[in-house]
Symmetry: D2
Subunit: 345 residues, 4 copies
């Protein structure tokens, strides 16, 4: 059976997901597009195998020939469409963030809990990256004993002028927040923000780089360098330090080049080059979950936790103090609380 | 539109391709299976979304609800089914080898030329491997100047007892034969076989390792170590040496592990771990070619050339002399003769 | 000319330096040994080409046939012997730390300033490590622009039970303190200490791992993981993050081993394996400075600064607060204050 | 005791060895220099700590205040000076080749055998390279089982116009000939030469690259790519393939640089950068052998074997046929014949 997917939001990521779902994911086709800008929606529809253009996201969600919904609008509109999809009982894949405030996230969580089954998957695609998945497998297999520390770096070659000082936390490190919760199977308990010497490549309204310090409930200390003007490439790094060894995420390397005095591999140019494969896998997994009738992957609850950490991070950035992350208790729909680390021992 | 694919041959690779085409490739579903062993066919059919079981490969090829054919039987049966598919005008994907003799390959070539369009793709999946593709791109971009030499190794941890001394050439190095023709855009002109000291891990009826020396028309010298009892893993290596630099195929590395005094990455355990992704891409490309109405990828002609090199290789193994590879002239259906190397200069 | 060196302190590092100066360093021979334990001194003397055994360090320093002195006693005795050597006008190489308190270091600085020329070199051997030297050259050549951040790790497989919670700072990270001052050509302005989840491999009286945060005068933020029970090997890591690139210290790798499913290089077992070559170079440089008549390398002032950072670090460990590093003004004998970073721009 | 060394030949390598022996090697000083060009000899003498200039190499060898001799003239003069040193009973270190013909080498061997003790060490410095030494240790420890194959590459960025087609064998691959004999502990039984497509970077009188195939007595097959116009750097590579694993010589890497889209390490610019440390160690070992009264390292016999392989290689280059290497029986002064490989099993 082929599921008919409707996409709300025809910007860059919406276009990419439309192509994925239409041409690379088995079991889905793109049947509808909606966007505030109707021309943009038509443009995307034209590259699919026959998607209709809807007047609004709500029309698309309500349409009987749409089986499932993908939300790729800008963040402030996520809540509205995700809630509408839940109200119709249709599965919905929402790009990160789930919503821009933890209060909005909780409204989604409450609606989903009331619906009684998981309908929402949040687009934290690193959980589908083969590299991170291999790290998680090795950690869970006890290859390095209990984790004690993690060192992360999230580097972009540059950012547009519209990128402001809250975005290293809200837009960039939010991926590390979710990835660390998932890798370590633990919640984040506190966050601090350090501001090193500023790069002269950063705009005047941007503190860059930033170093974030996260602490998990069991005391694992995670440092995250966010450095969005590093110039040389898109570089995502992660080392987990355990009691008996370490695991380091390898960069995808295809060819080793020896020329002009150097032995080199390329650094990916951007997130598409680095994580394109993870997006493919993520949406294939989502397509499989449609067939299974129950959402998997990152849940509304995970979306809520990530947003709560961002909110604490912004407070820490403003105050330059350590801020604890307060979160509501997890509803049973989202499974047991994250395992206590002793479970791995 | 979804193409209904029929698979002839329900052995290991047939089962894998059935899963791919049914669950990971966009635009295809598996609609039929045929195998000498009907139980085996039924078993594979059961894991698809509704494939029928056919009494014979010929019934499957003839069936009106089969749009395209995949041949994954043992090699000696390839010719018969590929010719039958061509006769019905249905596209056919044939696992390597295209046929077990160059004469049989030429019968396929002649039939396809008579049909007037490309219907056959041969399963040389390394052409779809992201690593080899990146090497080819870099070579074609002039990153290392003109190629002069290539060093290859094809290592398996072990082989079953049924693996005999002709198979390093016919079953194993045949991948290098095709890959080198494609990478260098040149035909192979001659082959020699050297027998180094035998591994005590090899069976008594197997000369292992073997070193094959290939020469292209323009004089590029290629050494290929075939070593199918190397014990430590499945290791595929390739370095192209050009006039101003070299390109080396990187092994896929996901995690770097530091423990017990070593800083390590894993070597893939087998060809599935190493080339699984290439198979996915290859069959997606084939699915796309179905929509386009014209086969792409490795052609019948490429299948013929590979088999002709194998035949010369076996003569070289027996005689321990250098043997030239004689090939018929390429029909225009298969494009221009491979570009002379001067074209890149 | 061959300089006759006297060594005070015949423990492990004293024995190693005796062998270096006698058998691997050009221009020196070991002419005398003194140790509280006379047997131990005799034992070391026996493996040199004729060193005499002295009743005390002071006798050795005073002896007319001793041209230069090496102090390798335990730390609390350093001040006494270094001051005595200065008093006789003899060059002295003192293993780190220069002295165990910053007050004692300043007494040495004052004595050397009064003597009017540099007589003291402190054994911060990483300044002589080819890897760190290459990093410094690249940084100074502007390869990565201005430095913004540094990530360091200092990992030991295990430590004896006598190793206590102050020693990660005083004995271990003190190397990073000096190396960072030298690499960045800047003083350290503040230090904080973070205590992550404890390793169960650490003894009950040791907080391990520790993460130290250093800030330089210009704002470069340095994180140092000290992890002395990491189990897997001796691993010294350093990445400098600049405005346009990064520099990472490579581990010395001699052989890549492929076996049993892994592609591995060894991690050094201990500091001897990792830094033995740096010690050789350091003492050869010292021998050359004897001929030149003026000490080079790390100075008494560098020894004082390192001890002052340790003292601030211990305060930070106790208080869990950020502590500024207060230092006296640098005497002109030790050159200009460290260059302001603007100089590199 | 300090040995007074006389150096015959004040060209580039003579100057380098003079500095080493005078300033970096413990236990030697340079006491005399002789060169056809007296100015050149004086120039080198001036940078030592007081070496005298001798009118001829024979005067230097005969001088009572010269304890040991280093021969760094051009190759054709080696025999004369080495024989003269043997005649005086003085230890002599001779740069490679020992002599330019195997007949000349045998005259040296005969003279040394007549003298009754080893006086000659040949400058095959790779035996002192820490990388090759680690490979040998791992091989001898049985880390990869019995060796079956070796893949070598010897690449130079470019060569002067005076470099002719015999020199890839005589000057360049001669290092691999000796290294392989030493690593594998086996003699070379046969050699073939293959000429791939020529690099347009090579001069008109140079066949470059060349591929040499060596076979040991037990059948280990060694391929050696000699490529002296590779443009990108000085690159020495070696992989030993054993029955259960492989060992690969690592390139010395000090700093990993990430900038401008690449993650790179430098390739050494030339043999000085790559093997400077091996030369230091080699001459320190020689200095130690002076004290011990018996030469170690590569012997006259090793020098003879290397030259015999070169002669066979030149015959193979001219004939394009496989040529067996014929060698006289080894005198007992040079130890047992190389161990049969079974010894390692």
């Amino acid at each position: 059976m082929t599921f008919r997917v409707g996409i709300i939001g025809a910007g860059m990521i919406g276009q990419e997901h439309a192509q994925r779902l239409d041409q690379r994911v088995s079991g889905t086709q793109v049947a509808g597009i909606a966007d505030m800008n109707r021309d943009r929606a038509s443009h995307v529809a034209a590259v699919t195998s026959g998607a209709g253009v809807y007047a609004s996201g709500h029309d698309l969600i309500a349409a009987p020939d749409i089986d499932a919904v993908v939300v790729t609008t800008w963040g402030p509109a996520h809540e509205e469409y995700v809630l509408a999809a839940i109200a119709t009982g249709k599965p919905v894949f929402c790009e990160k963030p789930l919503a821009t405030t933890s209060a909005a996230c909780l409204r989604i969580v409450d609606a989903e809990v009331a619906a009684g089954r998981r309908l929402v998957q949040v687009g934290f695609m690193r959980r589908s990256d083969p590299g991170y998945q291999a790290m998680k497998q090795d950690l869970d297999d006890g290859m390095i004993g209990e984790p004690l520390l993690a060192h992360c770096a999230h580097r972009n070659p540059s950012v547009p002028d519209s990128y402001t000082s809250d975005m290293p936390i809200n837009d960039t490190a939010v991926h590390e927040f979710d990835t660390m919760r998932w890798l370590l199977d633990e919640d984040i308990a506190a966050i601090s923000v350090l501001l090193p010497r500023r790069s002269r490549r950063a705009s005047s309204h941007l503190d860059d780089p930033q170093v974030l310090l996260l602490e998990t409930a069991s005391g694992v200390l995670i440092d995250v360098e966010v450095n969005v003007n590093c110039d040389y490439g898109y570089d995502i790094r992660c080392e987990l330090v355990g009691e008996t060894g370490t695991l380091t995420l390898a960069n995808p390397e295809r060819v080793d080049i020896r020329r002009t005095g150097l032995d080199s591999v390329r650094v990916p140019a951007d997130w598409r080059a680095r994580f394109g494969r993870a997006y493919d896998i993520e949406l294939q997994e989502w397509a499989n979950s449609l067939a299974a009738g129950q959402a998997g992957g990152a849940s509304s609850w995970d979306g809520y936790e990530a947003t709560a950490i961002c909110e604490a991070g912004l407070t820490a950035l403003a105050s330059r103090e350590r801020v604890t992350v307060e979160a509501r208790q997890r509803p049973s729909l989202y499974g047991q609380p994250l395992a206590s680390p002793a479970a791995r021992a």
